[in-house]
């Protein structure tokens, strides 16, 4: 019997729990302050518009909707970047972030002329390793999270990266690192760029939270854009699951930046060969919505406001939780709760504490102590603080 997926298994257990005070802090899906899924109004508008257009259902191109791909690349790199202005992006629509990583991984397996190894930060999203292995790549790790400070182990990261064999692939979380919520500062990104260049590593950016981390899509794309400006060739995976709330419609994009428009053509021709035997072509419904949001000025404005709203609520919850823990009388240092960014928080809870908090308080989170702040509300915040305090005092 295959083991239940660690993250999704938490939700299954949560569903069975009859405690009215139960809290699900497992899977990373945004919840409003009432703990409900939030369908963006801009998304609803776009959906209605699309239904009225009565478009056909013909196959999308293998690499997806061209208008979506263009808008997606622009969102990542910025309209005024050299990559966009000179059309140096080979972008294909993908099955959300997972699909982008899987296709990108397969592309590197087939065509990367360096070691077929991808280096992940420790820890990384649990699904990175299975995806890359399925794509045929070897997986190794570099130091990243410092459990003592619940912050970044920057010295350790740089040390490890300097030792990565030249030409290997290094995976970087563009913003809102999952699961820790710990991101490098802009200065640290600059240093990483240098070290990575020295080692001639190929950066593979996973950007699943653009706009969702700080509330600002430009700020959250800093690392990607900086690296592009510094001349790094890169692979990029984007997801619109969280920042547009399009989780189940599977909207994403995979990009390889190239030297010339001609190379873009060649690269895309090979990417299509990888996609065709997997699912032939992507689903359009979500991509049509995403394209509409990005390319229609009034809708884009509305979307960005809603996106900032979601990010702000999370930032507010972080502050509230930290304040509540202080109120509980906790002696621990909880500054990481507000220092970390994005949907997730690496609390620092140990496995036995996680077990206790689930058993005794019906608070559901993953064994590594990761909580999804999206599941925290102004209504359950105090209870959560109390529960955390009880198992850590």
């Amino acid at each position: 019997m295959g083991p239940p997926d660690a993250i999704l298994g938490v939700t299954e257990a949560f569903k069975k729990d009859t405690n009215p005070k139960k809290i699900n802090l497992g899977a990373g899906a945004y919840r409003d302050d009432n703990g409900k899924p939030y369908v963006l109004k801009s998304v609803l508008k776009a959906e209605k518009m699309i239904a009225d257009e009565k478009l056909d259902k013909e196959y999308a191109p293998i690499s997806g909707l061209p208008e979506f791909c263009k808008a997606s690349a622009e969102l990542a790199f910025g309209e005024n970047s050299a990559v966009i202005k000179n059309k140096l992006y080979a972008t294909a629509q993908s099955i959300s972030g997972t699909g982008a990583l899987r296709v990108g991984g397969a592309f590197l397996k087939a065509f990367h002329n360096g070691p077929k190894v991808v280096w992940l930060p420790t820890p990384s999203w649990g699904n990175h390793t299975p995806i890359m292995k399925h794509a045929g790549l070897d997986v190794k790790q570099y130091r990243y999270f410092d459990a003592k400070t619940c912050g970044i182990d920057f010295k350790g990261a740089v040390e490890d990266i300097k030792k990565i064999p030249q030409g290997s692939v290094i995976l970087l979380h563009a913003c809102a690192h999952n699961p820790t919520g710990v991101d490098p500062t802009p200065e640290q990104w600059k240093e990483l760029s240098q070290v990575i260049k020295q080692q001639k590593l190929l950066p593979y950016f996973d950007m699943a939270y653009q706009g969702y981390a700080s509330g600002d899509v430009t700020r959250d794309a800093f690392a990607v854009r900086y690296f592009a400006e510094q001349g790094h060739q890169m692979v990029l995976s984007q997801s619109y699951a969280k920042n547009m709330g399009l989780y189940g419609e599977r909207v994403g994009a995979v990009t390889v930046t190239c030297d010339s428009a001609e190379e873009v053509g060649r690269v895309l021709s090979q990417v299509k060969i990888l996609i065709r035997p997997m699912y032939s072509s992507p689903p359009v419904h979500g991509a049509r919505i995403a394209a509409k949001l990005m390319a229609t000025p009034e809708l884009r404005k509305e979307w960005l406001v809603e996106l900032k709203g979601m990010a702000d609520r999370i930032i507010t919850m972080r502050k509230m939780l930290r304040d509540n823990l202080t109120k509980e009388g906790s002696k621990h240092n909880w500054s990481h709760i507000t220092d970390q960014i994005g949907m997730f928080c690496f609390t620092g809870l140990k496995p036995n504490q996680v077990e206790r908090i689930t058993k005794e308080f019906s608070v559901y989170l993953t064994k590594d102590g990761r909580i999804s702040i999206a599941g925290v509300s102004s209504k359950n915040n105090a209870y959560l603080a109390h529960a955390i305090h009880e198992v850590t005092k």
């Binding site: 019997m1 259902k57 419609e249 030297d259």
Partner: protein
């Protein structure tokens, strides 16, 4: 600032997939009588794509339904979709269903279902897959990317007789080594349009039993062959009655006209309920590594329609409409060719079923049609009957007539 040479500077252009290149070339063509008989998508009598009215209706409902969200589906998909879809494949009264050993996994259309099936079967120890000669081109790519070391063909199409080469088919399958899978087209074989008779299916089942070949049914055209959903599912249901464990890869691209929403189902039939649950759990692990969970939109549309009696009947009517239009175009083309006195036998055009016809035109003749007459057909002579309309059938018939008479009949 100069950057180092691209790491991908040496990548070559991979040749575009023929069927898509054909459509691209067709679109660029400015010839006013051009006809696209390439890609397998239904067209109405005006040569236009047809979004099924029942699909439009349901989509409009979904767009304004405020109780719906866009949350992740389960890894194995929308349960009410999987159940209804598996029922459609196996039949309501299937022993597999009543005995709780027939379950579905939502996948990205037919391709995704086949890929999941291939990945799972490879891990289960299968290493040889048999495909019909010819078959849908992507079958090979799918099993190759799923790391099947042995991809073999079983004889299928007799180009001379324009019929199934049945004795060779059986003898080829009889040579199957252990741990073999055979891809069987449930109905409306792509590209030949020629299906085995019920007696022939029984003989195929005998060989599969004898050689312990795992039957993998590709069901992309349920309803398109005869217009009847149950008749078109006869073969996989027969195999279930015979006691086989098998998979049915279902696509709703054509029969629901949902091409671009990528909606399909992998129906798993096992000998017992326990294996069924275990297989599904292994499949979830594989899915997690490829697409994590499937797209919701298409699943909601199909589930809504399959689970509502009135909508279901409406849909069945649409399927009958499509199938009968195709049949009448087959008749019409056949009559035109006979009328022109085109050399050769053209009966296969009306005995074949489904979207495609393997005309029997050779590569040179096919290329002539495309290049000189702007009639876009595949190099192997496959045409999509849906591309034929009352207004272009004369031109197409004339074209075939010319090709057969003028172009070298030896390949």
């Amino acid at each position: 600032m100069s950057s180092p040479r691209s790491r991908f500077a040496d990548i070559e252009y991979d040749p575009p997939i023929e069927v898509f290149q054909l459509t691209e070339n067709y679109k660029k063509d400015t010839f006013d009588k051009k006809v696209n008989l390439g890609v397998g998508a239904y067209r109405d009598e005006n040569g236009k794509p047809w979004v099924l009215p029942v699909v439009r209706k349901v989509e409009a409902q979904l767009a304004t339904d405020l109780t719906l969200d866009h949350e992740y589906l389960a890894v194995a998909g929308l349960e009410e979709f999987c159940i209804a879809s598996t029922k459609l494949a196996l039949g309501e009264d299937s022993p597999a269903l009543t005995e709780n050993r027939g379950v579905g996994v939502q996948c990205l259309s037919g391709t995704g279902s086949l890929r999941l099936a291939a990945e799972f079967l490879r891990r289960a120890g299968f290493d040889t897959v048999y495909v019909s000669d010819p078959t849908w081109g992507n079958h090979l790519g799918i099993f190759r990317d799923a790391h099947f070391p042995n991809i073999r063909k079983y004889a299928y199409w007799d180009a001379e007789k324009r019929a199934i080469m049945f004795d060779r088919l059986i003898s080829d399958l009889k040579g199957a080594p252990p741990n073999s899978v055979a891809i069987l087209h449930a109905a409306a074989h792509n590209p030949t349009g020629s299906d085995p008779t019920q007696e022939q299916w029984a003989a195929i089942a005998d060989v599969c039993e004898e050689r312990q070949i795992f039957p993998l049914f590709d069901s992309a055209y349920q309803g398109f062959s005869t217009g009847d959903l149950d008749l078109d599912a006869w073969a996989p249901r027969y195999f279930v009655r015979r006691g086989f464990e098998l998979f049915v890869c279902q696509s709703y691209a054509k029969n629901f006209g949902l091409y671009n929403e990528r909606i399909g189902n992998l129906a798993v039939v096992t000998r017992d309920a326990d294996s069924n649950a275990r297989i599904r759990s292994k499949m979830r692990t594989i899915i997690r590594q490829m697409w994590s969970n499937p797209p919701a939109h298409g699943a909601r549309i199909v589930a809504t329609i399959l689970n509502n009696a009135a909508l279901f009947n409406e849909w069945k009517e649409h399927v009958r409409t499509m199938a009968s239009r195709i049949r009448s175009m087959r008749e019409l083309l056949y009559q035109k060719l006979k009328g022109l006195g085109t050399p050769g036998s053209w009966e296969h055009i009306i005995t074949q079923t489904g979207m495609f016809s393997y005309t029997g035109l050779n590569t040179k003749q096919s290329e002539f049609l495309v290049r000189d007459l702007h009639i876009y057909i595949m190099r192997d002579g496959r045409i999509n009957m849906c591309g034929i309309t009352p207004s272009n059938v004369d031109y197409v018939a004339q074209g075939i007539h010319e090709a057969v008479n003028k172009v070298d009949s030896k390949v």
